[in-house]
């Protein structure tokens, strides 16, 4: 009877194993809990879920299992950030944006296509009256609503620098648990290690012990030394969302490898390019930002910097005041990046875009210039080269 529940958990991508499931069955057999739904819920959660970040998913599966329903549209709708519904004026278009849309075939056509897709979407999900309703009220925000992601940018045939506002979407934090295939990256990153003796002297230093024992007339004179540890310090900056979506898996692998390889590792997220603030948690990106100046002042110049991003955007986003896709930036992105590079001489940009496209994209050329050519492809070889550059 419970196997279906177990199945559902696995389908929801929660890492549960047979062992854990058997544990749950054994616990039930032993009558640990009085038969009561609440207690069963607690017991199942304690047995099967080993990380609080999966609690939410578990709750969804659990309640669905109880109701015997599959996922319903209401559930998905609940995950829409309320602020979009509250402030549709956020999403209104400026003149330039209108021109852009015109160049893509006009707003009418876009919206029509949009609605058509939306309907297809709702048919699949059943009973989606709400979708249309919401769409009618605030059509511009809709891209983010849809977990499948209706990408209006698709109309542009792969040209990724396109419609600004539509790209607003719910970002997910990088999942650092992608262990698969990170070994190569780890090996590459390991090159960056700089071993230094630090901390308590608790290892026997054999050479000095022997020589000082000899000097001591054969009586033992023990010499100890501190263990070697990796003292390299790393700051990572990730471009997140929008055009980076196709590379998310690759980025996760890098993140996961770096996280296990470096003891002093800090990371920040940005969207497309770096401006006056960054953030650490994508769920909180609206209200919990870190000023870039603070990052510059917090870490000293011994930190090595990795920027990870596809560097593909409109040139205004780099060079112009107010060029950001998301907000009005008082200072150009390039200004901020130069500030960062002045403070941290050791910095590289890792780009997941295949290297053959680099020359045809203007923003990539601009960033390469900013970084004095220190841009490398996000491949094992590229990382190795980047690391070699950082070691110099």
């Amino acid at each position: 009877m419970l196997t279906k529940f177990f199945d559902n958990l696995r389908h929801a991508d929660i890492p549960v194993s047979i062992t854990e499931f058997l544990t749950l069955l054994r616990a039930l057999e032993k009558n640990i809990i009085s038969i009561n739904l609440d207690n069963f819920y607690y017991l199942a959660r304690s047995c099967l879920i080993k990380d609080e970040k999966h609690f939410d998913r578990f709750d969804i599966v659990f309640s669905n299992y109880l109701e015997g329903n599959e996922f319903t549209i209401e559930k998905i709708l609940e995950s829409i950030p309320q602020e979009w519904l509250d402030n549709p004026e956020h999403l209104q278009l400026s003149k330039e944006e209108k021109e852009l849309i015109e160049s893509l075939g006009g707003l009418e056509k876009l919206l029509e296509e949009f609605k058509k897709r939306l309907e297809e979407q709702t048919k699949k999900h059943k009973g989606g009256n709400k979708w249309i309703g919401t769409a009618g009220r605030s059509p511009f925000g809709n891209k983010g609503f849809n977990p499948e992601g209706i990408k209006i940018g698709d109309h542009t045939n792969g040209q990724k620098t396109a419609v600004k506002v539509w790209d607003r979407r719910v970002y997910k934090n990088l999942d650092e648990n992608v262990e698969l295939g990170t070994r190569n990256i780890k090996v590459a990153l390991r090159q960056l290690r700089r071993l230094a003796r630090q901390g308590v002297k608790d290892k026997l230093d054999l050479d000095t012990t022997i020589s000082s024992t000899a000097k001591n007339g054969g009586f033992l004179d023990l010499k100890l030394e501190a263990e070697k540890t990796n003292s390299i310090k790393v700051l990572l900056f990730f471009d997140i969302g929008g055009s980076m979506d196709p590379y998310i898996r690759l980025t996760e692998q890098l993140f996961s490898a770096a996280k296990s390889e470096f003891k002093y590792l800090e990371y920040y997220y940005f969207h497309n390019f770096i401006y006056e603030s960054l953030w650490k948690d994508n769920n909180m990106r609206m209200n919990s930002r870190v000023p870039t100046a603070e990052v510059i002042n917090t870490y000293n110049s011994t930190y090595k910097l990795f920027f990870v991003g596809d560097a593909t955007m409109s040139p205004y986003e780099i060079g112009s005041i107010g060029g950001s896709v998301e907000h009005w930036n008082e200072e150009a992105g390039a200004t901020w990046v130069s500030r960062i590079l002045n403070n941290f001489p050791k910095a590289v940009w890792l780009n997941p875009q295949p290297i053959q496209y680099w020359n045809s994209i203007q923003s990539i050329a601009m960033i390469r210039e900013l970084f004095s050519e220190r841009m490398f492809p996000l491949t094992t070889d590229g990382i190795t080269n980047a690391v070699n550059n950082l070691r110099r």
């Binding site: 890492p15 194993s17 062992t19 854990e20 544990t23 054994r26 616990a27 032993k30 009558n31 640990i32 809990i33 609440d38 207690n39 607690y42 017991l43 959660r45 304690s46 047995c47 879920i49 080993k50 990380d51 609080e52 609690f55 650092e176 648990n177 901390g199 308590v200 608790d202 026997l204 009586f219 033992l220 023990l222 263990e227 996280k259 296990s260 909180m284 209200n287 919990s288 930002r289």
Partner: protein
Amino acid sequence: MSEKFTGSEKYVATEDLMVAVNAAVTLEKPLLVKGEPGTGKTMLAEEMARALGKPLIEWHIKSTTKATQGLYEYDAVARLRDSQLGDEKVNDISNYIVKGKLWETFISKEQPILLIDEIDKADVEFPNDLLRELDRMEFFVYETKKLIKANNKPIIIITSNNEKELPDAFLRRCFFHYIAFPDKETMIEIISVHFPKIKKKLINEALECFFELREIPGLKKKPTTSELLDWIKLLIAEDIPPDALREKDTQKAIPKLYGALLKNEQDMHLFERLVFLSRRNSAN
């Protein structure tokens, strides 16, 4: 079944915590406890030991702790030194085997509670190195060729602050409980357990301040239960009347003694700035 853990006079256990603890005790599997710092993870083991009347063995993990240190250590250096000095002890190797916390736990006469505190501080490989020992509750001493087996399978409580991910193989062998941040009702219960004589009004005023403070976006370190308890202790010691906490709109908008709640310079500044802004707004 043996006695169940239902909290103690100093520890308020929620329903889900009790289920997790009792499941772990019955099935003789380790219980992994996570949660914000200051929500009483370590205290859980202490209070369990008190409530169930079992001995508590604490193993505090540091970044330099190795898994084998929990089993035993062979003090070769001491033996070498003794051999130079011609000590008789040197002939018996077992004189130089220093028992670790796990060994101590295994040979305990009655069923003990073993607390492995802050397991995430240790090296990434640390939990993996303990898999077999925690699974079978036995290990082999190579120097003396002896198998050490647990007399009574201990109750194992492991705490983690989430600084490192724990390996899957390890997690699979544990029960897991995440101590969520207490809601207002639980918090009132916790406070009255610690300060039985406290006035209701002070609790309410203090809690309101506290939860408001926690909701300030951008705080580096949100105040938690243990900070709240410290703060209330201070409030009582200084004999501050509940009304003094309420003066939100007046000139004295900064709550008294808030240094006990905010431990971070940036947070203090942020908070002071917010208070300043709200004061200016109310003045207009």
